[in-house]
Every structure is written in C-alpha cells, then in structure tokens.
C-alpha cells in the first residue's frame, strides 16, 4: 500500500529543489526536494520543530532559502517576481490572521483587490457561502470564533481560484463538522486539478484523500509515502499463517503476499484468496481490508529517524 517514491518534477504545479535554510550556522532545513502535481494532495507531516512552518514560509515566498529553488507552475518564486504568486492561495498561520477591525467581507475585498480581482463581489459571496460564513460576513473579524477565522482563512486562500494551495494546519481549531467541511473542500479542489499542499498532525483524516505524505524530521525530508487507493490490500488471519502465505503466492489473482505478525497481507481478489484457502482446508478466522495506518507508520518512521 505504501512505497517510497522519488520526486517527479515533470509538469509539477509546485516544485522544491534542494531547498535549504540556515539561521546563522544552524541548519533548519536541508536538501528538501519534492514536487506536487496538479490535482495531487500532498500532506506534510512531522513533529514540532521539524521545519514544517519554515518550509511553508519558503514555499510561499515569505522567507528566502539559503540554497535551492521553489517553482510555482515553473516560475521561480524568489526571482520570478510577485507574479509567480498569482497561482498561489495560502494560509500560513493557524488561526489565519485578518484585520480585526474590518468585517470578514471587507477583509476578503482587500485580498481580492491585492490579488487583482475585478468585480469580486459575487465570488466573495460564493466562498463565504461555501465556508458557511455568510451569517457572520458583515461582522468585524475580532468577533469571530477561532473556527470562523480559520474558515475565513481558507476562503481567502481559494478566493481567486488558485492552481496551487498551500495550507498550514488548515483544520486547527475547527470542530469536527468544520474539519469535515475543510477536508471535503480540499478533496474537491484536488479533484478539479488544484495542487494542494498542507501541513498537518491529523494524518488519519488526511490519509482519506491525500496522494502523498512527506515526513519531515530534523529539517530533512525523511520519506515520501504514496498512498494507494483503499481496499486493494487485505489482511487475513489463518491457522498456519506462514504456510498459508506461501500457498497464496502460488494462487493466480493474488499478489504481493507478505506476513505481518500473525496476519497474512495480500493484494488482489479477496474472493479468490478465500476460496483457495478453504479449498486447501485452511481455517480462516477473518478477512478484511487492510487500511494502511499512516499515523502508525509515521510514528515508527519518526522514531527511527
């Protein structure tokens, strides 16, 4: 279900190459290389202090790297001028920061103006409705709850329909309903072709729709994990697991058979595997889809880094 992947940069919407950042002699990030393709969701995970926020500041052009380059749709964000940010929507703080004396709508109007959007009224209304903020849109942001501010942050990021979305902890401070809403929107945007990069600690939630997870540790990209489609891998428990695994390797329609503790893991048709095992008189105790537990994997990977 998971595999380490090399970054492919052809046609990438967002691309970081050999990115490094030092403060004085202290390296904060080293040799970060990865790419996010259009329509792909890339989740950035890592313990506190691993460099996620610094990386996001570099990717959005708020900070400048000591080495390396970031390209948005092929344009160098540092030397390509501000125009490279036209394709970018981002929220780099949790909760998102806004001018507290302005209303939610006025804040979005300012963002629209700075983004060069003309006649943005209808689009502002649309994103406010999408993020369920219409009822509070004309109240000063200082009266907003944490969750409302966070949703307004996402509204400002998607306002100009960017092709690349970079979000730092987009679900931080949201209630379960708000979290589902944000995930739903992100999945929908990715489906429409937007390249989404988000940093998160909520790996189990993100693994439902993320395509890749980059695990950061100690300022380095420890691994990129590609998440496959759910339901392709199965797990079964059987009376003699090693022998059953050896047998399943010979069954057509069943692939990548392996042992994990007392369970047999395989890909392919569960019906074929089950019928074959029963035919050979194995006592099958259970068979179920084997969901890749990203959180467990991440924990293990960071621990061993």
């Amino acid at each position: 279900m998971s595999e380490a992947v090399a970054a492919s940069t052809s046609g990438a919407a967002l691309e970081a190459q050999q990115l490094g950042k030092r403060y004085g002699r202290k390296p904060v990030l080293e040799n970060i290389t990865f790419a996010v393709q259009p329509g792909e969701v890339y989740a950035l995970a890592g313990p506190n202090g691993s460099g996620k926020t610094t990386l996001i500041r570099l990717l959005t052009g708020l900070a400048f790297p000591t080495s390396g380059v970031v390209r948005l749709l092929g344009q160098d964000i540092y030397n390509g001028g501000y125009a490279a940010r036209r394709a970018l929507g981002a929220v780099v703080e949790a909760p998102a920061a806004f001018y507290p004396h302005l209303t939610g709508r006025q804040n979005l109007e300012m963002v629209a103006y700075l983004t060069g959007m003309l006649n943005a009224g209808a689009r502002i209304r649309e994103v406010l409705a999408r993020l369920e903020l219409l009822a509070v849109a004309d109240q000063p942001v200082r009266t907003f709850s944490l969750g409302q501010r966070q949703r307004l942050g996402l509204a400002s990021a998607i306002l100009h329909e960017p092709q690349i979305l970079i979000l730092d902890e987009p679900t931080s401070g949201l209630d379960p309903q708000g979290i589902s809403k944000v995930h739903e929107i992100l999945a929908e945007l990715a489906w429409k072709g937007v390249a989404v990069l988000l940093s998160t600690h909520h790996l189990r939630e993100v693994s439902a729709y993320a395509d890749k997870v980059g695990i950061l540790g100690g300022g380095r990209l420890l691994e990129e994990v590609r998440l496959g489609a759910k339901g392709e891998t199965y797990r079964l428990r059987v009376d003699d697991a090693p022998r059953a695994a050896a047998f399943l390797k010979t069954v057509p329609g069943v692939q990548n058979v392996s042992l994990r503790d007392v369970n047999v893991i395989f890909e392919g048709s569960p019906n074929v595997a089950l019928a074959a095992l029963v035919r050979e008189n194995f006592q099958v105790q259970f068979l179920e889809p084997d969901y890749f537990d990203l959180y467990d994997y991440y924990r293990e990977r960071v621990k061993n880094a």
Binding site: L62, A97, L114
Partner: protein, 256 residues
C-alpha cells in the same frame, strides 16, 4: 495605489500610539498655555493666542513629537507583524515595494497630521488670549516672541504654517529611520527604541564639530532658524530618501 494608501491611513489612525499621540498633541497645548511656570522657564508672558502654537512646537519638538513619530512609524509595520496580517498581505501577487512604499508615504504624512492636530489644539488653547492683531511675535518668526511690531492674524498664521511645515519635514528622517529599523527588527518596541537611541546618540555627536553640519539632530530646530534651511532642508530630505530606500531594499528580501 490610492486604495492601498487609504487603507494604510485607516490602519494608522487605529494604532494605539497614534491615538495617544494625537490626543497628547491636542490636549498638551492647554497645559503649555496656562502653565504657571511659563515665565520662569521661557521668560515669556503670553500676549496673544498666536503665541501658543509656537510654545507647543518648541516644547513638543524637544522630545515628544520625535518620540511619537518614531513610535507610530515603528508600529505601522510592527503591529502587522505581531497581528500576522503582514503575511496575509505579502502572500498576494503584489510587489513588496508597493506595500512598504504605501506605509512609508503614510508614515511621512503622520508628522503633519500630528502637527496639524497640535496647531489646532494650540489655537483652541490660545482663544482666551485672543486671536486678533497684536504687538509682538509668534515665537517662530522675526524677533521670536518679542516680535518687530504689530502682527496681523494672517501674518501670524503664515509664520506658524511655515514653521509647522518645516517641523514636519524635520520629523521625516526620524519616521524613515524608525520604519527602517522596523523592517530590520520586525518589532515595534525594538524599532522605536533603536530610532530614539540613534537620535540621542546623534545628539551626543555634536562633540565632533566636523560632523555637526551632517547630523540630522543639528536641524531639529530648523523651523526657527531660517538661515539654516538652504543646507538643512536638502540634508533632511536626503536622510529621509536614504533611509526609505534602504528600508525598501532590505524588505524586498526580508524573511517574514
């Protein structure tokens, strides 16, 4: 650009240091006008309301106005850093120089706003002394407060406007210096402290006579020294432009 300038102006007047500064500029002239120790301090007996603005200017420019100006300039950027809104703005496809340029314009306008409020406050405080023609001087024209004869209200106002405008320009380099420090430190307190410290340090440099003509602190009283305007004014403008350009240059590649 005009819309950004209006936004920046709106943000400026919401800053706490600006609100306190404007209140002080409005109210303090009343204290100067009715202070019992005025004669002892300045050897001055007010004979006209037109003399109160000069009194406010003389006392204010000594420390209060430069300090308020530095605080406001530092807070214009520092408050955005502390609120996190600077990132919100810089993420947009707009040149950094345009955003900081608008702030610099507003910061350079602030001394005039501050001084205008002080002038209005002073004229209000001077009302009990009368604002008609009088024998004497405004304190910022020929003959200082003693004057050189009778002064009409129009002449008095013209002298005061000229002095207040010059005082505004005198405060420009300090505003530009404070915003330069704000860009460097990204902190209101550090920037204001650094700007005021630089000002105090420059005052000490008068111990080196060769440097004196080039120190901006040598021209803080330019509004009462018309003979120094031809050299002092261009120098103050050069300082202002220099500090502003440096701020823009550093901000262009500054990590936020």
């Amino acid at each position: 650009m005009l819309r950004i300038l209006i936004w920046e102006l709106g943000k400026l007047v919401r800053l706490r240091s600006v609100q306190i500064g404007l209140l002080a500029a409005l109210v303090l002239p009343a204290l100067w006008a009715f202070a019992p120790g005025l004669r002892a301090q300045y050897g001055l007996e007010l004979v006209s309301g037109w003399q109160v603005p000069a009194l406010s200017l003389l006392t204010g420019m000594d420390f209060l106005f430069p300090f308020l100006t530095a605080m406001a300039a530092a807070e214009v950027l520092g408050s955005e850093v502390s609120m996190g809104t600077l990132k919100l703005v810089l993420l947009r496809p707009s040149p950094r120089s345009r955003l900081l340029g608008a702030k610099i314009v507003v910061v350079l306008a602030y001394p005039f706003i501050l001084l205008l409020v002080s002038l209005l406050g002073s004229l209000w405080a001077g009302l009990p002394f009368g604002l008609g023609s009088f024998f004497g001087g405004t304190g910022v024209g020929e003959g200082s407060f003693a004057g050189v004869g009778q002064l009409s209200p129009a002449e008095a106002l013209a002298e005061l406007l000229r002095a207040y405008l010059l005082a505004g320009v005198v405060l420009w380099p300090l505003s530009a210096l404070a915003i330069l420090y704000a860009v460097i430190f990204l902190s209101t307190t550090s920037a204001a402290l650094a700007a005021v410290s630089t000002l105090l340090l420059m005052r000490l440099l008068v111990a080196f006579p060769a440097l004196q003509p080039f120190l901006l602190t040598s021209y803080l009283d330019l509004y009462v020294r018309p003979e120094a305007v031809s050299w002092g004014l261009p120098l103050l403008i050069i300082y202002t432009v220099g500090f502003s350009l440096l701020a823009l240059l550093i901000f262009e590649r500054k990590d936020i």
